[in-house]
């Protein structure tokens, strides 16, 4: 899965006379860039902009949790943590220490499909940032030790406890993938993985994973912000160009599965007990892949359903019928297939059966009658403003260039991405909803408070 508000960007780094919403003329929403490929197959994208004295280095690797071996759930994300554990040139702890010493910081994330690392710093730090990224891509795997692995294994297990196990409703994300996708589907397990599998990971696993997936031909480097492109290109070629490649690993995809045909044949129900005060219903469907036909329509539908007080679900369930405390809906787009998820937290004393019936009524309506022109216009305008806002930040622009590169092979896809939303019609949204939101092929998960006094 991906970040919460999926890739819907728009607008350009540089001044654009953006006439968005109302006028039919498409806005200029491009992020200026140049792209080249190093002899070892590594993609290099430069985006120069001097508005703010910052540089960002973003390195995206084409590996996520869907590439994990059986019995090794959570490994791609665990590996992401290990990428900071050091080499000969950059001893353990020095990666962060040197970067922060130069006034920079970094972070990384892992999804089903990708692992993305980014560094932010003042222009004077760029050479160091590039040197450290080149160093770990070149040398990290063979230098892995059990000590490094054990250190991050414990951190990741605590990440799981903090974000999933000790947070209200956090257990949904642990269970939903297993219910929504069958055994054998690469999205069947959660990105964070199981404790047992995290405990089972070995140093040899790490070395093999690095050798296979952390290859320059499987990587895309973005440099964005306040830098000199001529000097930087030469430096990138020097640092990264000689890293040997074994070739990009083949993407196994999801053989036997299609993002346009759900594997669910009935309603899959489950109830989870959690430390919560208010009960919750989560519904999920398999839906079309990111950038596939219907993906933008479902993104617009999620906005119309749950964004703002006037949205369908908020208005009906929270505002008028007073059954719900809050509502959420999202098309969580991913490369091999997405999931459309609706979540509703019940008010105290409202039965989940009653809430579910009311929710179903609203969802059925979107499948029968096209939404109003005004509803569609609102959804489109909200989406578009979201894109412009994201373009303000150098870090976001770097991230978007690599997202488009990874998923469409075109870092400059922003304009076409926007066109998907502009072209959507209310009939199109209805038709996709009717096809995807099948009442008899979905997961319905309920979260209820732990029964007090129950032996554990």
């Amino acid at each position: 899965m991906k970040r919460r508000r999926p890739p819907r960007l728009l607008a350009a780094a540089l001044a654009l006379g953006a006439s968005l919403a109302a006028a039919p003329a498409p806005a200029d929403v491009s992020i200026p860039f140049t792209r080249s490929t190093l002899p070892n197959g590594m993609t290099v994208i430069l985006h120069e902009n001097h508005d703010v004295p910052l540089v960002v280095v973003n390195v995206s690797y084409g590996v996520g949790s869907r590439f994990e071996a059986p019995g090794r759930t959570g490994f791609a994300h665990l590996f992401e943590h290990l990428m900071f554990m050091g080499t000969r040139r950059v001893p353990t702890k020095a990666f962060d220490a040197w970067m922060e010493g130069a006034g920079g910081w970094n972070n990384a994330w892992t999804s089903n499909d990708r692992t993305d690392y980014y560094d932010v710093g003042p222009p004077t730090s760029l050479d160091l940032l590039l040197w450290m990224e080149a160093d770990r891509l070149r040398d990290l795997g063979p230098l892995m030790t059990l000590e490094k692995l054990d250190a991050q294994r414990e951190v990741v297990r605590n990440e799981r406890r903090q974000t999933s196990e000790n947070t209200p409703y956090g257990k949904v994300e642990l269970r939903l993938p297993e219910l929504l996708y069958p055994v054998g589907h690469p999205y069947h397990h959660p990105v964070i993985g199981s404790h047992a599998d995290l405990e089972a990971a070995t140093v040899d696993d790490v070395k093999a994973f690095f050798a296979k997936h952390y290859d320059p031909a499987n990587a895309s480097l973005v440099v964005a912000g306040d830098f000199d492109p001529v000097r930087t290109r030469a430096r990138v070629e020097q640092l990264f160009g000689a890293i040997p490649s074994r070739g990009a690993p083949a993407d196994p995809g999801a053989p036997g599965f299609s993002d346009t045909k759900t594997t669910l044949t009935s309603v899959v129900r489950e109830t989870i007990e959690d430390e919560v005060e208010l009960e919750k219903i989560v519904m999920a469907w398999q839906s079309p892949r990111h950038f596939g036909p219907g993906d933008a329509e479902l993104d617009l539908l999620s906005t119309a359903l749950a964004s703002g007080k006037a949205s369908r679900l908020y208005k009906a369930l929270v505002y008028e019928q007073k059954l719900a405390q809050s509502v959420e809906a999202e098309q969580e787009s991913a490369e091999l297939g997405s999931r459309f998820v609706v979540g509703v937290i019940a008010r105290p004393g409202i039965s989940l059966d009653r809430l579910e019936a009311a929710l179903d009524k609203e969802l059925e309506a979107t499948k029968k009658t096209p939404m109003g022109d005004d509803e569609l216009e609102r959804a489109k305008n909200l989406v578009e403003t979201g894109f412009v806002t994201r373009l303000e930040s150098v870090r976001e622009r770097a991230s978007l260039l690599n997202m488009y590169q990874a998923e469409t092979k075109d870092p400059g896809y922003a304009q076409k991405d926007l066109e998907r939303y502009r072209a959507a019609t209310k009939e199109g949204v209805r038709d996709v909803a009717a096809k995807v939101l099948d009442a008899n092929a979905r997961v319905i998960l309920r979260v209820v408070p732990v029964k007090k006094g129950k032996a554990k």
């Binding site: 605590n158 903090q162 405390q325 005004d374 806002t389 303000e392």
Partner: protein, 503 residues
């Protein structure tokens, strides 16, 4: 925090963006020299680059002027993208909640967009969405706010709605009933959120009873039950006045354009004839502006049976945003718990694996605030982790920062400011904070110089003064039965109990 899973908790990543490691204090493990294997052939990557000093960065100072109604405008023009963000701040924060009515300030702010001018709440929301705008209202400890962000082409239309929200809220009984119900449900839900519980209990235990900052801005179940629509109407009338408001505007708009927009949007926002209520925060609380009262360390446990982690908060009185120490302490904090390589995070996370992350902060408030160091740790290491936190904070109080930390925190303080002013929304919120607390428009610029100038001796002095833990308050949210023996093993035997609201 760091290295987040994209599916989870992504938004938080910007929060913890500065800090440093300390090679002198704790040498890195097994640091084999970089050149060890490079004897035979030259290293293809060459030597480690040594970054030069970044150019100095001073936050921008907005132009400021008074409007006819008495509102002070702070305008920072930014023309790179066609976006404008504006924030009204008024001295109407949770600190002004009447005794027993905690949450009134926040609820008043929340009611502003539940119908305003001629539009009911749904119509208003619809219209904001149609313009692709975002509108938020809320209240912190010192101030209430309303913030609008919109594409320039829709500024006039959106500002008219914003003006209605600020100056003509309907405050209707029907909508209040609904908002009030949702509020009370949210307070019930808060009891099962361990971080939120820790925050509520810390404030309740660190500040003396009745102190304006002792209650949470969203109140308690008891205080929510006591708040009425009449309270909201009075609070709004008393405190959301144009002659006490400041309006921060950042983005693609000139002063002339802005004035034309505001002349229409805020035309009906008039100050009442009555004088405004006092903005002093009432009774000077016992420790305001003075050292903490001599007292003993307290340990309070909020039971959360079967929790896989304990949330530990180590707290003590901090500083006021008006104390000069405030700017300097951001650097002390960056070294202690304000960045990834800070001592607390390195110890609990990188060295011991007890936690996904540990951090600390000094609050930035008009009156003296708090210092809090916090981490969610594996339950079975609650005692170890608490001891490590106390020891790290104690070492910083005793010895101050290392030379590396002195240098690093200067860079990180600069970096934090560059990003705080990068986007129009972030810049408006940051300037709004200065305005809301009561600083002038040049505060960030001035504070950046104060922070940059602080030398090792000053940093050590402030660390000693503000990190002493003799009278600390320690709050732990976790399974009491499993925690108690661990605390006893590190010599803590007097353990108080508390409910999730500090009761």
């Amino acid at each position: 925090m760091k290295r987040a899973l994209s599916a989870l908790a992504l938004a938080a990543s910007l929060g913890a963006a500065c800090g440093g490691e300390d090679a002198a204090r704790r040498p890195p493990d097994a640091p084999r020299p970089a050149a060890a294997d490079a004897g035979a052939a030259p290293d293809p990557l060459g030597p480690k680059p040594e970054p030069g000093e970044p150019a100095a960065y001073t936050p921008p100072v907005p132009v400021h002027y008074k409007r006819p109604g008495g509102t002070e405008v702070w305008l920072l023009e930014r023309h790179a993208l066609p976006i404008v963000s504006m924030q009204v701040v008024v001295p109407a924060g949770a600190a002004y909640d009447p005794e027993g009515k905690g949450g009134l300030a926040l609820t008043t702010a929340n009611m502003l967009d539940e119908g305003a001018g001629a539009r009911g709440p749904l119509e208003l929301s619809r219209e904001i969405d149609r313009l692709g705008a975002t509108l938020r209202t809320g209240a912190y400890a010192d101030y209430g706010f309303a913030q609008l962000t919109v594409l320039k082409k829709n500024l006039t239309a959106a500002a008219a709605l914003f003006g209605d929200v600020v100056s003509k809220p309907q405050l209707s009984a029907v909508e209040f009933k609904r908002v009030h119900d949702l509020w009370r449900n949210a307070l019930r839900a808060r009891q099962s959120e361990p971080d939120a519980v820790a925050g509520v209990v810390v404030a309740r235990k660190v500040y003396p009873a009745g102190h304006p900052y002792a209650h949470p801005s969203d109140g308690t179940l008891a205080s929510a039950a006591a708040v009425t629509l009449a309270d909201v109407k009075k609070f709004y009338a008393d405190r959301w006045r144009p002659d006490r408001a400041k309006l921060v505007v950042v983005g693609d708009v000139t002063r002339a354009e802005l004035d034309a927009v505001l002349d229409q949007a805020l035309a009906s926002w008039k100050a009442p004839a009555s004088p405004p209520p006092s903005e002093s925060l009432g009774v000077p609380a016992p420790f305001v502006g003075r050292p903490a009262p001599a007292s003993v360390r307290r340990v309070v446990v909020v039971d959360r049976a079967d929790a896989p982690q304990s949330v530990i908060a180590v707290a003590r009185p901090g500083v006021s945003a008006f104390d000069e120490e405030s700017a300097v302490l951001t650097r002390v904090n960056a070294a202690l718990g304000g960045s990834f390589t800070s001592r607390l995070n390195q110890n609990l996370r990188e060295e011991h694996g007890w936690s996904y992350g540990a951090r600390s902060r000094f609050s930035f408030t008009r009156m003296r605030g708090v210092f809090v160091a916090q981490a969610a740790v594996h339950t079975e290491h609650t005692g170890d982790a608490l001891q490590a936190m106390l020891s790290e904070i104690g070492a910083m109080a005793k010895d101050g920062l290392t030379d590396d930390e002195v240098d690093k925190t200067k860079q990180l303080a600069r970096a934090d400011l560059v990003e705080a002013f990068e986007t129009v929304q972030a810049a408006a919120a940051r300037l709004g904070r200065s305005a809301g607390v009561g600083h002038g428009p040049d505060h960030e610029a001035a504070a950046s110089h104060v922070a940059a100038r602080a030398d090792k001796a000053a940093l050590k002095r402030y660390a000693a003064q503000y990190l002493d833990l003799d009278a600390a308050t320690i709050v732990i949210v976790g399974p009491r039965a499993k925690i108690k023996p661990q605390l006893e093993a590190i010599g803590i035997t007097a353990i108080e109990s508390s409910g999730p609201e500090g009761q």
